[in-house]
Amino acid sequence: SNSETTSSSAGGTGLEKTTLVVGTIPVPDSAPLQVAIDRGFFKDEGLEVKPEVVAGGAVGVQKLLGGSIDLTLGAYIGTFLAQDKGAGKFKYVADSYGAAPGAFVIMVKKDSPIKTVADLKGKKIAVNTFQSVMQLTAEVQMKVAGVAATPDQFVEKPFPDMPAALENGQVDAAAMVEPFITVESKAGGRIITDEMTGPTEDLPVAGWFTTEDTANKYPKTMAAFQRALGKAQELVANDRKIVEETLPKYTKIDAATAAVISLGSYPTSLSETRLQRVIDLMKEYGYLKTDLDAKSMILPPPAS
């Protein structure tokens, strides 16, 4: 790891390590981290957190394993997949982002003949990453509507490219998040369905995780991180305004857009049962081969 490891001397807090390099993604999911940094929650714990942009959950996993970061934001599905395939052993340290109405939707362009989820049968659907929460939840919604999804109907496209892909007909539908939902809606795009309803209602989406090794090696540091982030998570969960103010600081979403977009939820605790839902869904849809135990992938929050 390139972050300096200092002994217990640091600030007398007894932390094994006072600097953490944390992978983030410039999307609303990571707002609490920015809030915690801005309000000095980490500093209060004797921690210095250096955020580093990672291009996606998979990169986060690799960077963790390569040792260039200590923690990262990552979608649960991707991490579970990685652990299932034996890439490494991971532990979630904190929850970050969960489903909320209007934050994860499937859209089509203005004049599309597609009206309902059932119409998506055999149609090309853009997802930001293969085997991601966007794809899984789309599959779930289609199954609920009585049509089967096939793997080859999904196309990987970065979110920013989705409006154009819809427009010129490369894909028929796209599973989108903010701020792109707002952008596409302005151009007349229609929402076919919310991805997070029915079986996927309130589904956990992303959290902060690290490798099992790191979690075991720096228990006090992790606890400090959990405490600081927990405070921010608490703030954010109860006041949308804080997110709106924070977004323009670490993303290129401007204040006006931030004020109107639909945000997900910011859960305040890591819940084993909630994560187990994700694992069960993944098993049901053939994403996982082995039995994963949600409990073993959670670093329990510090006893306060």
């Binding site: 090309k124 293969f130 154009a164």
Partner: protein, 271 residues
């Protein structure tokens, strides 16, 4: 008949002699990956087994290729060649024009330098936006990505033509077309070929990028899918396949080069 047979046996032996580094590398690779025992670096034996399963366990009538292989490689290779040939034609054309006219060079230089510093992946969305359909956009991506070495080497080659060759052509009143075809292009050809060879394997790379960012099939798509699913042997299988394709394409290219540049080898040989 036997003469032909011994001859071909000998040439096979010679070819094998040239490939000695391949088994050595494979063995080292196998040992290294086995002792590291990392899921990200599977040993070559596992990779080859996986490749066999995916692509080469088909019926003999299809040269052992599976349907998946035909699906993966057919369209990809067509795009690859299409893009490479288009880039070759454009690159040589523009490069010759620029190499012959310093005025044109002055006008276009900044644009070229600007263009070749732009990462092609960033442009894929715009090609898609402009060209709508998948294949033209993918071709555009490949052309845009691979044209630069051809262009720069062609410019260098045409600028470096021996002055006395040009003077001879002018004295005998060669038409512009003749001058290009009979003097400038042959003289620049060795350098153009270096560019074409660079561009060929670059075209494979750009094909992968185009498939990743724009399409829904082919090796690039396979590679991405394997990466996303943490299927490391599959991912490495794609890499090895790309390497093999690159090697084969390059070998074919060198055969062509031997024919076209026979004079050059003769003129430049030392005893």
């Amino acid at each position: 008949m036997t003469h032909v047979a011994t001859h071909s046996v000998r040439s096979v032996i010679r070819a094998l002699g040239r490939l000695w580094l391949v088994p050595v590398t494979l063995v080292v690779w196998e040992i290294a990956t086995r002792s590291a025992a990392q899921p990200f670096f599977p040993p070559p034996s596992a990779i080859l087994a996986r490749m066999h399963e995916i692509w080469f366990s088909g019926p003999a009538s299809h040269l052992l290729l599976t349907d998946k292989a035909l699906d993966d490689f057919g369209p990809s290779l067509a795009r690859l060649f299409g893009g490479w040939l288009a880039a070759a034609a454009l690159g040589v054309l523009i490069g010759t024009a620029i190499g012959c006219s310093s005025r044109l060079a002055d006008y276009l230089d900044p644009l070229i330098e600007l263009g070749r510093a732009v990462p092609p992946p960033l442009l894929v969305p715009f090609f898609l936006a402009l060209l709508k359909l998948g294949t033209p956009a993918q071709l555009a991506t490949i052309v845009f990505g691979v044209i630069w070495p051809i262009l720069l080497n062609t410019i260098d080659g045409t600028r470096g033509v021996d002055r006395q060759h040009l003077e001879t052509a002018r004295i005998f009143g060669f038409s512009t077309a003749q001058r290009l075809r009979q003097v400038i292009l042959p003289a620049a050809m060795p350098k153009i070929f270096a560019g074409l060879r660079l561009a060929l394997s670059l075209a494979l790379i750009l094909l992968v990028i185009a498939e990743i960012f724009g399409g829904t099939g082919g090796i690039g798509y396979q590679l991405l899918y394997a990466q996303r699913s943490y299927l490391y042997p599959d991912m490495w299988g794609c890499l090895v396949m790309l390497g093999l394709l690159g090697y084969l394409l390059n070998s074919a290219f060198l055969l062509l080069e031997r024919r076209v540049l026979a004079w050059h080898r003769g003129a430049r040989q030392t005893n």
